[in-house]
């Protein structure tokens, strides 16, 4: 069993910081963005960014997997 690469783990940590641990920083109403209270906008925005982070992590993993396959 292969453990996940450091790069992928770092990318995976970003959404946890942005959507969970930093709640005190973004849990406010103002400024409204696209008509949404800031906290609601922030979470919706980060759902999209999380997908991007995981796409990056996926590239990291498949790259290290390919390398592993080429080695005898």
């Amino acid at each position: 069993m292969k453990k996940p690469s450091i790069g992928a783990l770092a990318l995976g940590a970003i959404p946890f910081v942005a959507m969970c641990f930093s709640v005190a920083l973004w849990d406010r109403v103002a400024p409204t963005v696209l008509g949404l209270p800031f906290n609601l906008f922030w979470l919706i925005f980060w759902i999209v960014l999380t997908s991007c982070c995981m796409w990056g992590a996926y590239r990291f993993e498949s790259r290290s997997e390919n390398k592993g396959n080429r080695d005898p």
């Binding site: 069993m1 292969k2 453990k3 996940p4 992928a8 783990l9 995976g12 959404p15 946890f16 959507m19 969970c20 641990f21 709640v23 005190a24 849990d27 406010r28 109403v29 409204t32 696209l34 008509g35 949404l36 209270p37 906290n39 609601l40 979470l43 919706i44 980060w46 759902i47 999209v48 999380t50 997908s51 982070c53 995981m54 796409w55 992590a57 996926y58 993993e61 498949s62």
Partner: protein, 482 residues
Amino acid sequence: MSPAATALTLIVAIVAIGTAIGFLAGSRQRMDLEQWTVGGRGFGAGLVFLLMAGEVYTTFTFLGVSGWAYSRGAPVLYALAYPTLAYVASFFFLPQLWELGRQHRMQTQPDFFNVLYRNPYLSGLVCVVGILAFVPYIQLQLDGIGIIVSVASFGHIGRAAAMTVGTVLLVAFVVANGVRAVAWVSAVKDLLMLIAAIAIGFGIPLAYFGGIGAMFTALIQARPEHLVMPGSTPNLGHSWYMSTVLLTACGFYMWPHTFGATFTAKSADTLRRNAVVMPLYSLTLALMFFAGFAAVLILPHLQNGDLALLIVVRRTFPAWFLGVIGGAGALTAMVPAAILLLSAATLFAKNLYRPLLAPAMSDDGVARLARAMVVLLGALSLGLAIHGASTIVALLLTGYAMVAQCLPGVLLGLYWQRVTGTGVLIGLIVGVLTAVTLMSAHLDPIGGLNAGFVALCINFVATIAGSLATRASAGQVMPEAT
């Protein structure tokens, strides 16, 4: 026809057609809990996207999330964060789990504990925890049925009566071995729910305020405190948010059905790809927030927030639309309720009763016992649903507090050399007892933290301490040193 009659007729018709199609077409392919969870992956890419977007709307999200947006306010934002973070976590540990499952031919969650730890008491207790966690999950589906029928009948049919009829139908359906529904029956439901969610999420703010932005402007003026944590609650603040997000993100893949579904994935790569795409589906959940927040200004002073969405719909849209939404909502509650009942009963008979108490029992005997358990569990859930006053969200959180306690045994089993079955057993007992004690003593949240999360932390400590103090049993599978 009166509006109530129109709405109820449509609900009954949709449920009847849905189940009839299930009976007729489903005999070829049996649908179990795993298929329900990952259902409909055989369709084309465009349709799959629509179906997955529709699958987001469960009883929990449709009635529960909008209900908490109405009654609690900002703390409900946790529901937007935890599925996303659960997918992130899944990217890292599901491929490992899948690999282990492939090597040892695992199919179910008890299989995992059985193979890894070779401790029958541990896998038995995992079953018990799974069944206990399923009970509030079934209960919230029954609550949903009760709410739909009572709102659609304009209060003529009470919640208790509606839930009782719903449960009797469900149990009869399951005992008659009727849990057969091809993927496209739930596909019809998914599409209906997606259309309903869009109509509700955009239509209601538009009808009353002129748009979503205008609705929030009005709400910020009238009730700004509702929109930041702790919202309209005394104690659901930031530490509650963080601990709840972590607990539910951890518990997401610990449900017996989501765990089992991992083993049926085509490859480890499929699981990683899912983690990339899946967060996007929860975007449409925002529509339920719009509906719940709009209801704050449209219908102040509702006793039960879980009714908010349907009462606003009833007030805004024609009766036939309420009927269509009610019918789709009722299918959304009944299909999982039936499958959950059957899975909990099968888990009891096959993975708990037979291995521990009656090894000689035949497969027919197991099936009979499972059917008896369906009746018992249905009655238990109905009793709890009639007498309980919990909101739908609170019920699911109770289930999560239980089921997340399986996490230390899974994570440490995958990554830590020193973990032992006895250690995991001790941790699981301590964690479940802590969660049950805190919740039944109404100490949730405790010190601002989600009680299930506190129990999970204690569980981790107890598992590690117990593992260090004991030796691994013979035959335990160890993670490879890397």
